[in-house]
Amino acid sequence: MQALTEFKKTNKLKIKHLDCGQNFKRRLAELGLFEDMEIEIIKNDNFGPLLIKILDSKIALGRGEAEKIYGEKN
């Protein structure tokens, strides 16, 4: 289990744990990002936000937030 920021582009991952506040967790869940969901990293420049694919949409996620979300390679 590693933070999302540790992954490179095109990695498919399963979300394992979210270490963020209730409200933000709920917002992410509505976007389709919650435990056991599969996502894909589209872009990780090692600075700035991450670009991830959740369900059928591209979502930009702040780096600070991505550091607190953990996933595992399938």
């Binding site: 933000f24 967790k25 509505e30 976007l31 435990e35 969901m37 996620l61």
Partner: protein, 682 residues
Amino acid sequence: MVKKIDIKIGLIGNPNVGKSTLFNALTGAKQHVGNWPGKTIEKKEGEFSFEGKKIQLVDLPGSYSLTAYSEEETITSNFILQEKPDVVVQIIDAQNFVRNLFMTIQLIELGTPLVIALNMADLAEISGVSINIKELSRLLDIPVVVISARKQTGINNLLENVLKKRNTEKTKIKLTYGTEVNDELNKIKNFIKSKEKIGKRELNWLSLKLLEGDYRAEQNLTKKPYYFELKSLVQKSISHLQNVFGKDIITILANTRYGFIEGLARKVVNRKKIKQKIKFSEKFDDIAINKFLGIPLFLFIIFLMFQATFKLSEPIMGWIELLFGFLGNNVSSLLTNLGFSSLFISLINDGIIGGVGGILIFIPIIGILFLLIALLEDSGYMARVAYVMDKLMHKIGLHGKAFIPLILGFGCNVPAIMATRTLETKKDRLLSILINPFISCSARLPVYVLFVGAFFTAYQGLVIFSLYLLGIIVAILAGLIFKKFLFKDLSSPFVIELPPYRWPTFKGLFIHAWEKIWLFIKKAGTVILAFSVIIWALASLPAGVEYGSEQSWAGSLGKTVTPVFEPLGFGNWQSSVALIFGFVAKEVVVGTFGTLYGVDNIDSLVGTESLNNALQNDFTPLSAYAFMVFVLLYVPCMAVLAVVKKETGSWKWPLFMVVYTTGIAWIVAFVVYQGGKLLGLG
């Protein structure tokens, strides 16, 4: 006679699903924008007729869900529960079917009389996704209609279904969350039922929201005598479920809902693997969000935007000039022939036609600028800008999304400050609001246009661009300072969807821009008209003085404050007066110069020339630049202060804004003028 509304429809959907396009297609120009009662959030409504029925359409805030993540989402659930629309139409993007269904589920949970409009099904087909409409409709027990908001197809079918839906019962489908969750929900329901008379729909919704830990649902209950008992019951349920599932309650419910949706999708969605060409979206994004090219591209686009604004508006402004020139000449000769006094003719000509006409001439510039900003917003590019700017924005304690209100500020700071509502925390909002006035709005443009016309004919675009850039730099510096001293620990999560690029519809763009232009025209007709008359009076009184001379009231007012501006290079009393009146609205500065220099019809060619000559007598290019810098940075207009008061809820922040912006303006203009003189530019 005004016919009563027969049917009230709410329109809802995720962002970027074509909701505004559908709204515009249905209501056309017959829409009005107001506020939700007691809230600062915009409410858009429109009316139209269909099959002899008068239909009212209410545009609900676009959002991902009905949970109270932001104030907007509370509005939606309150609207559905309290105003009880006859039908709610949810517009779903077929390309993002599963995610959109999360909201459908919540609408069903809320017991909404629902009709689904499936948009962009054609685009989904191209990428190999087809949706079985009949099956979907049967499984959900909800009418589903395929539409294309852009091509305006399927709309009649949608409306027919809406009318039909109204006559049938509410959606019957029951969602089940599994026995464990259902048991806990029932416990909460039974408790509330025993204490309160409450409708069934509201009861279901409230219990679910309590279980989810939605604090807004709780807020309404804190005053009730049974609140603590209820709260401990809910807490017990939550910890019971979390023990059973080994997950927190949000994850449990998300998983249950998603499980339902996935099951549904398996039955109705057919995905074919199609070998796809790399889409334009992907190709463009390679540059637009590239770590090296993203920001230069953005700067280039903004630069093009301003160039286009000037080039496109020039000819139209010429026509308006001719019109007002013609009007001015003919009205004054007509009035003279009719035997009116010269004072009255001066009021009409110098005061009203000069003042208001001098402002209306800028409508093409403002209109085109707003049109281009709407293009950036509606095409999906603005979200990319938020992405590329996120890192820089972090330096001033904000995230990328806060950059969007800053760009909107180029149009007008009033809607820009209202747009800070999309930011989640109060501190983010306050910081964005405080730095917004430095972003040069379109009302400041007329002032620059006047001065570059008189002093910098060869470098118009460049000089104006430099002012916009200066505004951005000052905004960033102010942000840094505020971060350091006022809000040390702010940071709210950054998450934003990058929608596929789309060509906006012309209709949508025009409606978007027209709303803003109309606001401007209204301002010209009211505030600016009133102040034109006041300025005229100050310039004509006391009786007998030469119009706009030093002996007039305006002259003595100006001379009193002139010493303050002396070190900045514009110690002439006319500019002091212009700056004082510019507080009303920055574009008034232009009209004031016209009035004070005794130039009628500043929008005619001759008028422009004589105003230019007058300015050239009182300013050097350096002091003209310092003056523009001061206009850029000093106190925002009354409308901005009023909206800041409204958004922050007190006069403290607008007053602070007046002092600090004017202070900064003075310092920067001082540095520009004195520095320029030292460099031998004066």
